[in-house]
Each structure stands twice: as C-alpha cells, then as structure tokens.
Symmetry: C2
C-alpha cells in the first residue's frame, strides 16, 4: 500500500505514494481536517481543488453526532460528505482523553482550543475495557473502547482507521505514562483483533506510538507497534514542552520504525514543524491550525518572525489595499481581495472572510508540501528547507533552491 | 440606457437590456443582495457564476460601516468587493425609517427581520432636512438626508443610485402618507440637484414612487417621479397587507409610468411575486428572501403549496438520502448533497450549510428569471407563468410550455 520513490540523502526524508481504497496520496502530505464531515467553511470537495488527496474525519465527533449508524445507513462517510477520495479517521482517543485530562489537554500539541464551548463533556471512568464519558452535546453517558472505535470507523468506511489509544498528557508522571502506554498496546491488539474479524475490506489500520517524553518508553512503544501487522504507524501523545523536545521525541520514534511503513504525525502542522517533520521521515500530517486560524482572522504568510501568520482582524489593516499575500496563487489571493476588505468582513462578522482565509491557508500548506516533495525528488531538500525557514514563499522554493 | 426587446401581448411584461456603466443587465432580472459589500456566505463574484448581472449594495449599512469615505479612498464599491459588473445601491431610506417606525417595519414587505439584533438604533428626528438617528453599531448620532445619501452613493460609485425617500409604513394614515409622499418628491428634486452637480459620470439615478396604498396618492406619485429626468423608477413603501393589494398598488403605479423607463420593484422576490411582477411590467427586483431563508435552513422548491420552500432544519430530513431538489442543476444539487447531510450540517451549525442553500436558492431564482425572459421572447409567457404557479421547476418551463 505504500511505496517509497525517493530517499533524501543524509536525512530520513522520503517521497512516496500511499495506495488506499479510494485513491492515492502523494507523500509527504498535509491532511486537512474534515472533523465533523466537513472542512469548516468549505465543501469537502474543495480540498481536492486546493491540492489535497486526503482529509481527516473524527471518530469521536461523528460517533456523537450524527452517529456512525446513521452515516453507515446513508452509505458511509465518503458518500455522506460527497468525497470519493481517501479519508483517514482519527480514533477518538485524543478527544475522549482531552475531556478527562481537563485543561492539561491544552499542553498537548495546542489542540485543545477546539474544545472551547464543549467542556460540558467529562470523563466518568477510564478502565481496561474503555472510557465512559458524558457527551458534550446532550449530557448522555457514552462509552468508547477499542472495539467501539473500530466499529465506528468501520461504519464510517474510512480508508485509514487509527487504533484507539490513551493520549497521555505532558504532566503525567513516568509511572502513569508507562502503564498507560502498555494499556494502549493492549488496546492496539484488541483493535487489530476486532478489525481482522469485522473491518471493512480495504481499510488500513494504523497503530499509534505513545510513551510521552521518556526516551525508553517511546522507543519501546515504537517497537511494539512496529511488531504488529499494521498498515502504518501514527505518532501520538504529548511530544514535549517545546519544539526541540517534540522533534527529539519524533526522532527517537522514527529511528525504531521500519522504513517501509507510512508514518503519520498526529496534530502537527505549523510551517516549520512540517519542514522538520519531513526531514525526520514523516509521510503525513494533520492539524487544525490552517483552518482554525483562518476562522480567527489569520492568514499564513512566509514570515518566520511572525510564526508564519498575520492577523487581519487587527485595526492596522483597515485601509491597506494590498492582497492577503502578494504573489500568492491561491483562489482567494488570485481574485485580489485586499487586506482592508478581509478586515472589514471579519469585523462585520461575515462568514465569507473565514472562508477566504481558510482557502488561502490550506492552499499555502498544499503548495508547501508539493514543493517539498519536488525538492526531495530533485535532491535539493536541504536548500528548500533552509529557504522556508528563511521566509521564502512556497511558490518560490523551486526558483530559490 | 434601457432598450426593450419584446413586449408580451396582453400584458405589461417585456424583456430588455439595461446598459450601465459596468455592463449590461438582461431584464426582467432578480438582483441578489450584497447589502454589506458581500453576498452573505458567498463571494460577490459568485453571483455571476450563478447567472446574475447585477447585485444590490446598501447605502445605510455601508455608510455606517466601513464608511463610504473609506470605500471611496479604496477605489469605490466595485473595487472594494472585487465585482466589476453593475451595482445598484439602495438609498438607505428604507433602513433609516425601519428604525423609526419600529415593529411596524415588519409590515413592510416582510423585510424587517433583517434588523434582528440591530434594534439599538433609533430615529432621533425626522425633519425636512433629513433624518437624525443613532447608529446601531456604536450608538453615535448620525444624519442622513437626500444629499448625504447621494454623496454616499457617489463615493460607492454604483451604476444605479436610488433617491432618498421616506418609506411610509402600512399603519400610517392617509394624511401622514400624503405629507410624507410630498416630502419624498421634494427629496427627489434635491437628490437630482445634488447628482447633477456632483454625481459620478455614468451613474444612473432612479426615482422612488411612494404613496402607500392610496390609489390617488400612488398614481400622483408615479406621475411626479415620471415627470423628472430620472434614469429609471423604483416602486417603494408599503404595498399593502396582502399580495392582492400589493399587486393592485403595483398596477396603479405601472399604469402611470412611461414604457421606456426601467422599473425596479423594491424588496419583492417570492417566486409567485416575481411571476406577477414580470406580468405587471417590472424589469428588476431585489429581495433578501433567497439568501436569508438559505441561512435559516430553507431551500427553494417548486411547490406553491409550501410557499416554494422546504425547511431542511426539520428533524424529518435526518435520514433522507435525496438531493436538496431532485433534478436541480445548481452547483449544490449537482454535487449531490443529500437533505440528510444538509440537515446534519445545519444542526451542527456548520456555515457550509448556509452557503450551499444560498447557492441553491439564488440559482433557483436566476434560472426562473432566465426562463421567464425566454418565455416572453418566445411569446409563451402565459403558459410559463401558469406552469410556475402550478409547481413546475424553473428548468422545466421551456419543456412544459
């Protein structure tokens, strides 16, 4: 299902092709979120127009609403959201445990902000069998364990299912992390056993490496997952308190993984993180960042000093008749909307602003990944990576390297 | 600027072409609202993809935010919203007086619902000079009179400016309506005088007929407006308490109007009203209905029994795997989204649902008007009108008539 095309010399980086039930994914690739069966503010099909081969759906959210049975009766997630290309579904582990670990979830890869307003949910118990929790939608008691997660993903019919894991937070001590990681391995076996009996034909299953920030636990977890018959391997859990530690954890993990299996880095997608992840041999990434910051008025720009973003809701853009990003070939910039106009739409709370910024941000990452793939294939990844880090626009990478 | 192509025998209906500064408009035509410099949930440019030649901007809203000076400095409304086709701007009269007449505005053509949440604004005084009111945005005292309205519309640079009028409510007595209508005529002269001196080259000015539901006042107002050197004539104000009265008022008015000038019916756009308006010789219409009901979960369908609409937010659509409207060629229906999916998106408060329904509803009206134009040109308007009233889909009108 995964073939490697080019390996970058002196690096873990590689280009390849994932062959999945609904088509192929050129890697390394960013995977936009279609968490709740929609890429927020867009139609899912527009992800393809923006250059993406695959989107990510979420088991936890779709389990609660509208329910996997309903989506199953309506022909599965592809048909429900009218997207006939690959879908990867997150297992729900991260979301379930985010509720339980409370505000500590904020530490986990900065993803907890998506739960604002959903704090009504809470974990009632975590046991070997699974997790009992209260739905953030209606307060109903719900249960999710490894088999539930796989059953939901089977009904959704995703191309890649992720196994159910406990996403241990950064604050957990070594002892808790070790016990939790062992349970995640037992859950991995239960997921694979359920899938072997009931999983839909053609659905790949990725195991998830945990182990927190402890080197021996991470390496052991990577070995455990790699020893199973999994279609690919995802790297999850807390990745540390800063980017240096995050990529140390990723490197420990990658060193233990077989070259031939595709690797997914969960929840990571800042511009510099994508470059570093590619250098460390990650094949696919997902992250709420481009779509979420777009809904908050921010546009991605090639500016490392400003974390690659500009906040168009700020008053300083009120009269600035410049495009969102000069020279950007994305559909929003190509049509010439000014920063002043986008600023105005944001202040007037017109949803078109969020849509334009989502389009721009996704197109930015799509182009970045395409250029990194080309750079690997053409043997010039180091120069391309250096250019991104120095603030080159994605569409200038080929010219500058 | 206006040429009539075909006159329907035994009817006031006609097809024609409006030649404006930024292009032509084939009439009779529906004009979608871009009230606040955006077609809500879409980009303005998408109106063209949906078959529209012109959009309507709003003087009152753009005066308050972001301000006509700012839009003027940024090159005018066309450039601000990146739309290089015709724009008609409403004068702000309706909006200003809606605040003053309070809930009575609800009676005026059902348009007042768009002011939900904006009731903080209020009229402070109505005098010969104009109207002083409190901004719904920040409580600041603002003034708008005939010259202000024309100045704003000059800065916006619309193709068609509407003169500033008092939109008298249905509850106003004959005496108030008579005095108000006379003032509207004096304001018309002031608007034309200002425009003659300061108006941008190529901007047409439409006068507005008032007179409430009093036949003599309406006819007199129509004659007064027609006697001026206006580019076209709009019909405004209360049109009565039901559709029969509304079209009686429209017919009195049209009988007094010169054939050669284009006629705009303000704020009317229900499917049956468009058909009747066309029969009465109306050339252009604007209405919040298709975009507003779309944002509230409703889709236009060819069903007179249900006021041509279906509410997809209702639970009965939860599992219905049928398109929004079977056979509809619009971009939302053509892509096959099911009612179940749109229902789910609405309940999940995903803005994509509002966008899909806005697209569908605008496409429905665009096609309806195109088919009515074809029917007039081909001498079969009576059959086409009867078919619409019997529940024929717009794209079946040519086949069925």
């Amino acid at each position: 299902m995964f073939s490697i095309r080019t390996k970058a010399p002196g690096s873990y980086a590689r280009t390849g092709t994932l062959r999945l039930a609904h088509g192929t994914v050129e890697t390394p690739a960013f995977v936009p979120l279609a968490t709740k069966a929609v890429v927020k503010t867009l139609e899912v099909r527009e992800a393809a127009e923006l250059g993406f081969d695959m989107v990510l759906g979420n088991t936890f959210h779709l389990f609660l609403n509208p329910g996997h049975e309903l989506i199953g009766r309506l022909g599965g997630l592809h048909r429900f959201q009218r997207w006939d290309r690959p879908i990867i579904t997150d297992s729900g582990g991260f979301q379930v445990f985010s509720m339980g670990h409370g505000t500590v979830a904020d530490e986990i890869k900065g993803r907890a902000a998506q739960f604002v307003g959903e704090r009504a949910g809470a974990i009632l118990s975590i046991e070997e069998e699974g997790v009992r929790f209260r739905s953030y939608l209606d307060g109903a008691t719900k249960f999710m364990g490894p088999e539930t997660s796989m059953e939901v993903q089977a009904a959704l019919g995703s191309d890649i299912a992720l196994v159910f894991d406990e996403c241990t937070p950064f604050h957990a001590d070594r002892d808790y992390t070790a016990r939790s990681t062992e349970r995640t391995h037992r859950w991995l076996d239960r997921c694979l056993a359920w899938h072997a009996q009931h999983g839909p034909a053609g659905q790949a299953v990725y195991g998830i490496v945990q182990g927190g920030v402890e080197e021996d636990l991470r390496r052991a977890s990577a070995q455990e997952v790699a020893a199973r018959d999994v279609g690919g391997i995802a790297i999850g859990g807390t990745l540390g308190e800063n980017k240096a530690q995050m990529f140390e954890v990723v490197e420990w993990t990658v060193e233990e993984l077989p070259e031939a299996k595709p690797r997914h880095l969960l929840g990571i997608g800042e511009v510099d993180d994508l470059v570093r992840g590619v250098e460390l041999g990650i094949d696919t990434f997902d992250c709420a960042m481009p779509t979420r910051i777009g809904r908050h008025g921010m546009a991605l720009i090639p500016d490392p000093e400003r974390r690659w973003r500009v906040d168009l809701a700020k008053a300083r853009w009120r009269e600035v008749d410049e495009p969102i990003l000069d020279g950007c070939p994305c559909p929003a910039c190509a049509h010439g909307y000014s920063r002043a106009y986008v600023h105005y739409l944001l202040k007037a709370r017109e949803q078109t602003a969020m849509r334009l910024l989502t389009i721009h941000n996704l197109a930015f990452l799509s182009r970045l990944m395409a250029e990194l793939r080309a750079a690997i294939d053409e043997g010039r990844l180091p120069a391309a990576a250096a250019a991104v880090r120095a603030g080159a626009a994605p569409w200038h990478l080929n010219a500058e390297t």
